[in-house]
Symmetry: C2
Subunit: 582 residues, 2 copies
């Protein structure tokens, strides 16, 4: 994402405006960090013994409007670390930030709110950027208050995080408030419970959802569809264990960077195991288990398997943020000259899959090409000529697939360039789902080779790819996207059969068998309640097709079908019903 | 299994005979434990600085024959702990065993080899039973030498384990030696490598196999077949995380018993997690996530998921004994009155599945009904009347399924009776695969309920069931059973297409597409080698069908097909080939 746009600056400045307002009302407040966010901003505060609540928002917003009306100019200035320490001596959080700046040897910069007479009315430690004056921050609204640990660390003090929204104009704010209202209705945690898709247990722990039979149908439908598409493109399933010795991640280089975020596993012996936070190092070991020839390449492994991340309990959220996340993961080992074909295959798979979910539509998704920062070539590992070629190839393959790509300089990982696909859901929220990442580094670390035409060893390139990403997160996205009304191919129950009376039971049983044999997930709701009540129940359960079976139907007529959300019934034969459900 | 049969006693006595022989040759030897095994016996020794090797077997066997010819009588006598300590003062392992006996308050018993004059020629600490005299131990042979930790604990000294075989007669020994030879040829570790089914990596750790694409096909075929059969019987898939708080196992009661054999997981926080050693407690939490009515029962969950056991590195063996084992697991929650129907369904599934693998055949499997020990009713939890009913029901359901059942008193788990199915592989080795276990205890521990017809809460019964057991172990069994030549439905590659020359490539490509579309795993072996060499390669890879494509075939004739192991070719149409592969 481009952080340097106008809205970002407005949001960033708005957070300073809020802090100034709060300082006026609560002079003793201490301040943590406060960045701009996608829809506005937040700022952490320590209010001491007198907590802040949403009841205080009115007073704060009033002060904020006064600051906006004053249209203070924002002016940046650099000061020494010693000066900064003097200025913020009373605020332990600021002092900690200043010490961080000092350690990195960076400059301390301040932003002042300057009035017409040139006086600084409010000053904060900040690297910027901001809008030119407080009058330019657009329409804003304080949103909510939450607890947040200083530095996200549960051993540190709990601060109060105040969230605000900032928009170009009042229409933007109204649209956002409407979106929030819709999002609350569609909340996957609420629908997950109502539709019996997953559950959690205090005995098992937070961030560790269990999928019920209904939720597992949805999960399997997603997984099977991706696997089917991948199989047709030459991907083959593999199966790896979920734990490994730390040696694997020492070799990959992840241990040094991420060891504090891993789950560590110990048995009776001395061996240090970890739960895998990713699958690529494991897949390299399958590649490395045989001598490979150029004739064997590309080799494509895929798998749906869980990875584990020790997320802070406070950051866990339903299916969106979990401790055990299931990835539709896959890795291609190929030659430089095969990158383009392989990327094209992955785009084909993503196109077919997200077309089926309804998300791949003109204007509904964006593609980002992350390339090197041309000014910091030292940040990137691997041969520079290969980087040039690879960046070029990814750009070409996207163009040939008819995709408009946003080029993002400096956003590439240190190991290679990538293409990311970001999709909008039904209420406009954006989700990064598909990714295609080239990797020049891991094949080196694991000394992966193949024998080329001349009988010499060569290094393959590795491509990391995901179509849906984490299945849990993707399910959360889809539950909210569809508001729980899944399309028939992934619905837990595709058709509910409603015999009008007991005299229709035998016909209904036969029809269920016929549908089940054709692979349709059909259930019967026996006539212990009125038909009207049962139709309402099937609509509440968001079943795609409700089939009403009375005398006409048992007498040989077509089936009477009510689609989810439809006001009117349709007539269709069993064959038509089956083909509508495929 | 019945340990009190004659062969067991012969084997047990043979181990004493070996120890006496070794004592004669190596008077300073110290002795660990030495039980009878299924084919003979073993005994652990500490040989100090002079290790024993198979080269010593000849001399030991000579002494053993002398002992057998002397036909010493075996006489049991009881002594006090103090006397035992005096007698075995020089042997630290014996002393540890005696201290164990002392702690348990049990009696110390010795077995003497007594000669014709009534003199004890050799004495060992032993609870028996034995044959009457050393002349009765049948045909024996020393087999191998291996290292083994004292008490299986890697922190204890490494001892030398000497294995021997004992048989009723020379034919029994010959058959066993032939079986061993066959077993070595079929060893799944050897075939697993040759057929590229799985691999291991030192970076990942022992007991943690990775399945290659070819091995994953076999694994998925097993899993899909079981799941398909279960689905038709009303089982529904669920998906659970692989870790949980220790609280879950404290509630189930497993923590207290097994905590030292678990993998313990720690992140940044204080929460104590474990890797799941079983799935039943997780499944109770899905059951408990909703209020259940008698109308909802039976509820049947199934899943293919990994469990983790901290096995000693020395006990790990290929796919047979691993640290992460994948179970085809499932649990039924039902009423007492539904047990019989549910057990019948599970027998149906097992029959269909093991018929497909070729193992379910008259005389090739045995069924054991494990019931209470009538003399120790206090060992079993749950209502005694329910136990009576359940044991009766399992007996009835087996009889109605036409199964002859061996009743094993005292072999039931403390929580309920069970039916176990033991199958013989192609070389006669026996494997316990399918199990059906009733459980009256876990529903209690997790306070599981349903509402009965009267609106009152009742406890469901739980049935634990597995069809193949651990997929890894089952794959090891099948690889050795088939000697790597899998039946077509589970073969990694079902058909290899062999164009005679390049002029047949286009036809071959089309045929592959046609086969792949029909779901056949077909590969092409292009004509870079002679046809003869390529046919030999496909036979070596044990591909069920090799299809030779020359002028006749491209000219519209039927396909020329060589089945694995066949001497002659067959002619068949594409349709016939596809139906042969289903």
């Amino acid at each position: 994402m481009n952080n340097e746009n106008a809205l970002f600056n407005m949001r960033h400045t708005a957070s300073h405006v809020m802090s100034y307002a709060i300082k006026m009302l609560r002079p003793d407040v201490k301040m943590g960090v406060g960045p701009a966010t996608e829809m506005g901003f937040y700022q952490d505060y320590d209010f001491g013994q007198t907590p802040l609540s949403v009841d205080d928002f009115k007073a704060i917003e009033k002060k904020m409007r006064w600051i906006v009306n004053k249209d203070f100019a924002l002016q940046k200035r650099e000061i020494s670390v010693a000066e900064a320490k003097e200025l913020f001596a009373g605020d332990p959080f600021k002092m900690a930030l200043i010490e961080g700046i000092e350690k990195k040897g960076e400059a301390c910069t301040l932003y002042d709110f300057v009035d017409g007479e040139g006086n600084a009315r409010y000053t904060d430690l900040c690297a910027g950027p901001h809008v030119a004056s407080t009058g330019q921050i657009g329409t804003f609204k304080l949103m909510k208050v939450a607890g947040a640990y200083w530095r996200g660390d549960e051993n540190e003090p709990m601060l109060t995080r105040v969230y605000g929204g900032t928009f170009a104009d009042a229409d933007g704010l109204a649209a956002h408030l409407h979106m929030l209202e819709e999002a609350a209705k569609r909340d996957h945690r609420k629908l997950g419970k109502e539709l019996d898709l997953y559950t959690t247990s205090d005995l098992i722990g937070s961030g560790l959802p269990l999928f019920t039979p209904r939720g597992t149908v949805v999960r399997d439908a997603i997984q099977d569809e991706i696997m089917k598409l991948q199989y047709a493109h030459g991907y083959r399933r593999v199966a790896i264990p979920h734990i490994c010795k730390k040696d694997l991640y020492e070799t990959s280089g992840h241990w040094q960077k991420y060891k504090d975020d891993l789950f560590h596993v110990h048995g009776k012996g001395d061996t240090e195991f970890v739960m895998k936070p990713m699958n690529c190092p494991h897949h390299t070991q399958i590649y490395a288990s045989q001598m490979r020839s150029y004739r064997d390449l590309p080799i494509r492994y895929c798998e749906v398997t869980a990875c584990y991340r020790d997320e802070q309990p406070g950051e866990l959220l339903g299916l969106s943020r979990v401790r055990a996340l299931t990835q539709d993961d896959g890795h291609v080992f190929c030659r430089m000259g095969q990158i383009k074909d392989e990327a094209a295959k992955i785009i084909d798979i993503a196109r077919a899959f997200h077309t089926k979910t309804g998300m791949w539509a003109e204007g509904n998704f964006e593609v980002y090409l992350s390339v090197r920062d041309p000014e910091k070539p030292e940040k990137y590992l691997g041969d520079s000529a290969n980087w040039d070629i690879a960046e070029q190839l990814l750009e070409e393959v996207a163009a040939e697939a008819g995709l408009k790509v946003k080029r993002e300089e400096g956003e590439a990982a240190f190991y290679g360039p990538k293409l990311d696909f970001q999709f909008a859901d039904a209420i406009g929220r954006k989700w990064q789902l598909t990714t295609i990442q080239l990797d020049f580094v891991m094949p080196d670390r694991f000394d992966l080779t193949y024998i080329n035409e001349a009988g010499e060893k060569e290094r393959p390139v590795m491509i990391h790819r995901a179509i849906a990403g984490s299945l849990e997160r993707f399910m959360a996205v889809l539950i909210e996207h569809y508001a729980g009304a899944f399309p028939a191919w992934m619905a837990p129950v595709q058709a509910v059969l409603l015999p009008v009376g007991q005299q229709h039971d035998a016909f209904t049983d036969d029809l269920q068998k016929q549908l089940m044999t054709a692979g349709v997930r059909a259930e019967i709701d026996v006539p212990t309640e009125t038909l009207g009540k049962r139709i309402r129940a099937s609509q509440k359960a968001k079943v795609p097709f409700s089939i009403i079976i009375g005398d006409t139907e048992t007498g040989g007529g077509p089936l009477t079908v009510r689609r989810y959300g439809a006001q009117k019934d349709e007539q269709m034969t069993v064959e038509e019903l089956i083909s509508a459900l495929a």
